[in-house]
C-alpha cells in the first residue's frame, strides 16, 4: 500500500511539475520531492518512505536534469545534488518514523495505564484466587496480547497453577519462586513467543509466580514494565484474599469451639444419665435372690427403656455427624408424599395414638423427588416433637400445599405454641425448648433443617393464628416423569 502510494505520489508530482520546469529552480523541485518523502514517512512504513526517497531522486534525474528522459547526467554537479537529496530524504524518513513510533507508544502506554487502573479496580472486588486468576488472564490477553498463568504457593510450599491445580512446576518457574528474581526465556511450547516470569511479591510474603507468554515482537521495555505492574497488582490482591480467609477461619474456629463445648456438656449428661441408670439396674438384677419376678421384670423394662434412649441418641449423633461432614449423598427418588407420611406415622405409632393424628392429604398429590429415609426421619421428628410439646392428648394435623416449584408439608399441633423468641434458637443443635421436659436431646430440629436444606428446601416454624405450633417442610419439586398409561382390559 505504502509503495503504491509512494509511486503514485512521485508520478503525480513529476507530472504536475513538468509544465513548470523552466520556471522553477532545480533546488525547489528537489524540495518538493523531499516533501513527498516526509508525507509518506508520516503515514506509511519506513521502507515505503525510503523507497519514495530513491524514486524521487530517480524521477528528478529522469524528468528535470538534462538530458531529459534519460538517466544520463549532463552536469556532474547534479551527482552531488542527488547524493544530498538521497541523504536528506533518508534522514527525514528516519526522524519522521521515530516521531510517529513515539506517538504510537504514548497512545499505547496511555491505554495500558487505563487498563491497569481498570484491572486494579476489578481486583479490589475479587472474592477468590480463581477470580484474580481470571482477571489477570483476561488482562494479559487483551492488553498485552499474550497468555498468562498464575502459580500460587500451596500448603505444601510448592506453587500450584490456579487455573487447573496443576502441580508440575517448570524448572524456571521454581527458580523464580525460590529467589524472586524475574526471568525470561523462549517459550518451548509456542514458536516466536517469549516467557516472562515474575515473582508475585506482596508486602508480607512472596505469593507465587506470574508466567506471561508474549509474542517476541511485543516484548520491549514498555511491556516488561506493564508486566511488573500486573504482577504486583495481582500479588496485592492475592494477599488481601489470604488475610480475608485467615480472618474468616478464625471466626469459624471460635464458633466451632463454642459449639463443641455445648455439645460435650450436653452429651456427657445425656449419655451418662442412662448409662448410670443401666449400670445400677444391672447390678441390682445380679442380686436376684432378694427380688421377686415382678421386680425383675420391672428393672429389665427400665434397662430396655434407657437403652432405647441411648440408641436414639446414637442415631441422631451419627446423623448429625454424617450431615455435617458434608459427605451426605442424597438417594433421591420419585416418592409419594402420602406413602412417606404413612410410613412416618407407622414408625411413631408406639408413642402416638393413631387417632390423634389427622392427615388431610389429597389423593392426587404429585410425586416429589427426595431421599425417603431422610424425609421420613424429619417427619418422625416433627411428630415426636408435636406430641412432646402439645401433651399426651394433643391432636395433630398434617396438611400439604403445593405450587409448580415446591411442595410443603405442614405439621400442626394444638399445644402451647412456640415461645416468642423461638427464631433465634429453635433450629440450633442442642437447644431444648422450655417445655420439652427433658425428653430428646435437642438435636432433632437441627438435623431436620439440615436435611431439608440438603434437598434444596427448608424447614420453618410459626405459630398458627388459632394457637399451636406449625412446622412446614418445604421441598422443591419439578414435573415428575410421565407414566405410560396401560391399555385397559386385557
Amino acid at each position: 500500500m505504502g509503495f503504491v502510494t509512494a509511486t503514485l505520489a512521485v508520478a503525480a508530482l513529476s507530472a504536475a511539475l513538468a509544465p513548470w520546469r523552466n520556471v522553477l529552480d532545480a533546488a525547489n523541485i528537489v524540495m518538493l520531492y523531499l516533501l513527498v518523502v516526509v508525507g509518506i514517512a508520516l503515514v506509511f512504513t519506513r521502507a515505503a518512505a525510503i523507497f519514495s526517497a530513491v524514486l524521487g531522486v530517480a524521477a528528478f534525474d529522469f524528468f528535470f536534469v538534462t538530458p531529459r528522459f534519460s538517466f544520463a547526467v549532463g552536469d556532474a554537479q547534479y551527482l552531488l545534488t542527488f547524493a544530498v537529496m538521497l541523504v536528506v530524504g533518508l534522514i527525514l524518513t528516519q526522524l519522521t518514523a521515530g516521531l510517529r513510533q513515539q506517538a504510537m507508544r504514548a497512545t499505547q502506554r496511555a491505554g495500558q495505564v487505563t487498563a491497569l487502573y481498570e484491572l486494579a479496580r476489578q481486583l479490589a472486588g475479587a472474592a477468590s484466587n480463581a477470580q484474580v486468576d481470571e482477571l489477570v488472564r483476561a488482562f494479559a490477553a487483551r492488553t498485552l496480547g499474550g497468555r498468562c498463568e498464575l502459580w500460587l504457593a500451596s500448603r505444601g510450599g510448592q506453587p500450584v497453577r490456579v487455573e487447573d491445580g496443576a502441580s508440575q512446576v517448570p524448572l524456571e518457574l521454581g527458580l523464580v519462586f525460590a529467589h524472586g528474581n524475574p526471568l525470561e526465556h523462549d517459550d518451548e511450547h509456542r514458536p516466536d513467543h517469549r516467557c516472562l516470569l515474575l515473582a508475585l511479591e506482596a508486602p508480607m510474603r512472596r505469593r507465587g509466580v506470574c508466567l506471561l507468554s508474549l509474542p517476541v515482537s511485543l516484548v520491549d521495555e514498555e511491556t516488561r514494565h506493564t508486566a511488573r505492574m500486573l504482577a504486583s497488582l495481582a500479588a496485592i490482591a492475592l494477599e488481601r484474599l489470604h488475610y480475608v480467609e485467615v480472618a474468616h477461619n478464625a471466626t469459624l474456629e471460635m464458633e466451632t469451639e463454642k459449639l463443641r463445648s455445648v455439645i460435650l456438656s450436653a452429651l456427657s449428661h445425656d449419655i451418662r444419665t442412662p448409662l448410670t441408670v443401666m449400670l445400677g439396674l444391672a447390678d441390682t438384677l445380679q442380686q436376684t435372690q432378694t427380688l421377686d419376678p415382678a421386680q425383675v421384670r420391672d428393672l429389665s423394662g427400665a434397662i430396655h427403656g434407657h437403652a432405647t434412649r441411648l440408641n436414639d441418641l446414637a442415631h441422631k449423633l451419627l446423623d448429625m455427624a454424617r450431615l455435617q461432614s458434608g459427605k451426605l449423598q442424597l438417594r433421591s427418588e420419585w416418592q409419594s408424599i402420602e406413602e412417606i407420611v404413612g410410613a412416618a406415622l407407622a414408625a411413631v405409632t408406639p408413642h402416638i395414638n393413631a387417632a390423634q393424628v389427622r392427615t388431610e392429604l389429597p389423593a392426587t398429590l404429585p410425586l416429589v423427588e427426595f431421599d425417603a429415609v431422610l424425609i421420613e426421619r424429619v417427619l418422625c421428628n416433627l411428630l415426636d416433637n408435636a406430641i412432646r410439646h402439645a401433651g399426651p392428648h394433643a391432636s395433630i394435623v398434617i396438611r400439604s400445599t403445593h405450587d409448580d416449584t415446591s411442595l410443603s408439608l405442614h405439621v400442626a399441633d394444638n399445644g402451647p405454641g412456640l415461645p416468642a423468641d423461638h427464631a433465634d434458637w429453635l433450629f440450633q443443635p442442642f437447644q431444648r425448648g422450655p417445655a420439652s421436659g427433658g425428653g430428646g436431646v435437642g438435636l432433632g430440629l437441627a438435623i431436620c433443617r439440615t436435611i431439608a436444606r440438603a434437598h434444596g428446601g427448608d424447614l420453618l416454624a410459626h405459630n398458627a393464628p388459632e394457637g399451636g405450633a406449625v412446622f412446614s417442610l418445604r421441598l422443591p419439586r419439578r414435573e415428575p416423569p410421565r407414566i405410560e398409561s396401560e391399555g385397559e382390559g386385557a
Binding site: E333, A346, V373, P481
Partner: protein, 227 residues
C-alpha cells in the same frame, strides 16, 4: 421341613450370638453358631439348617457375598442382621436373595416374629387358589378381587403387582425386585411406576390408604405384604 434342623446364627459378636441363641432356644428351636463366614459354610456342609441369620459385618467376608453364594445353591431362608451404617449392603443383600432383615439393635420380640414368619413361609403349604385379608377376597383361579363382596376392578399391571406381593408375602420385596418382576428388567431404575401403582392398590384394597396395614412401606428398601 425337618423340624430337627437348627437355626444357624452367623455373627462375630459372641454376646449377640448368645442372646439370640438363648431366646431362640427358649422358644424350642435348635441353634448352631458361627463367628465367621468360613465357619458358617462348614456348619452348613455338616448339617443343613432351616434358617440362617447373617450379620453383614463379618470379619472374613462380605456378608452380601455370603448371601449370594448361599442363594446360588440353596433356597435356605436368610434373615440379614445389619447395623444402620450398612443400609446399602442391606438392600444389596435383599436384592441377591436374602428374605428379610433386622436392623441392630433389635428386640427379641421382633426377632422371634421375623423368624416365625420366615419358617412359616418356608414350610410347604398347599397352594391355595384363594386368599383372604381384611375385607378383601382374592380368587386367583378366576382372577377376581372382591372387597366386602363387591368386585374391585384392577388393571392388568395392578393385578400383576398384587400377585407379586402375594407370592412374596411376609417378606421384604425391594423396589428393584418388584420393578423387575412386574414391569421387566428395563424398569428397575424407574421407581415412580412402583410408587404410583402401590398407591393405586392401597386406594383400592386398604381400609385407610394413608395408613396401610397390608401393603406396608419399608422406607428406602421396598415393601412388605402382610395379609
Amino acid at each position: 421341613m425337618n423340624n430337627d434342623a437348627p437355626i444357624l446364627i452367623i455373627d462375630d459378636e459372641p454376646d449377640i450370638r448368645r442372646f439370640v441363641a438363648m431366646s431362640l432356644t427358649a422358644e424350642g428351636w435348635r441353634v448352631q453358631q458361627a463367628a465367621t463366614a468360613a465357619e458358617a459354610l462348614q456348619c452348613i456342609a455338616q448339617q443343613m439348617p432351616c434358617l440362617a441369620l447373617v450379620d453383614l459385618g463379618l470379619p472374613d467376608r462380605d456378608g452380601v457375598e455370603l448371601v449370594r453364594e448361599l442363594r446360588s445353591w440353596s433356597s435356605l431362608p436368610v434373615l440379614v442382621l445389619s447395623a444402620r451404617s450398612e443400609e446399602r449392603d442391606k438392600i444389596s443383600a435383599l436384592d441377591v436373595g436374602a428374605d428379610d432383615y433386622l436392623v441392630k439393635p433389635f428386640g427379641v420380640g421382633e426377632l422371634l416374629a421375623r423368624v416365625r414368619a420366615l419358617l412359616r413361609r418356608a414350610a410347604p403349604q398347599e397352594e391355595s387358589p384363594q386368599l383372604r385379608f381384611g375385607e378383601i377376597d382374592i380368587d386367583f383361579a378366576r382372577r377376581r378381587v372382591l372387597r366386602s363382596g363387591d368386585e374391585v376392578h384392577l388393571t392388568p399391571i395392578e393385578y400383576r403387582l398384587l400377585t407379586a406381593f402375594v407370592a412374596g408375602r411376609d417378606r421384604v420385596l425391594t423396589h428393584r425386585q418388584l420393578l423387575r418382576e412386574v414391569w421387566g428388567p428395563s424398569f428397575v431404575n424407574s421407581p415412580h411406576y412402583l410408587r404410583i401403582y402401590v398407591g393405586h392398590l392401597r386406594q383400592k384394597l386398604e381400609a385407610d390408604p394413608a395408613r396401610p396395614r397390608h401393603f406396608v412401606t419399608e422406607t428406602g428398601v421396598g415393601y412388605r405384604f402382610c395379609p
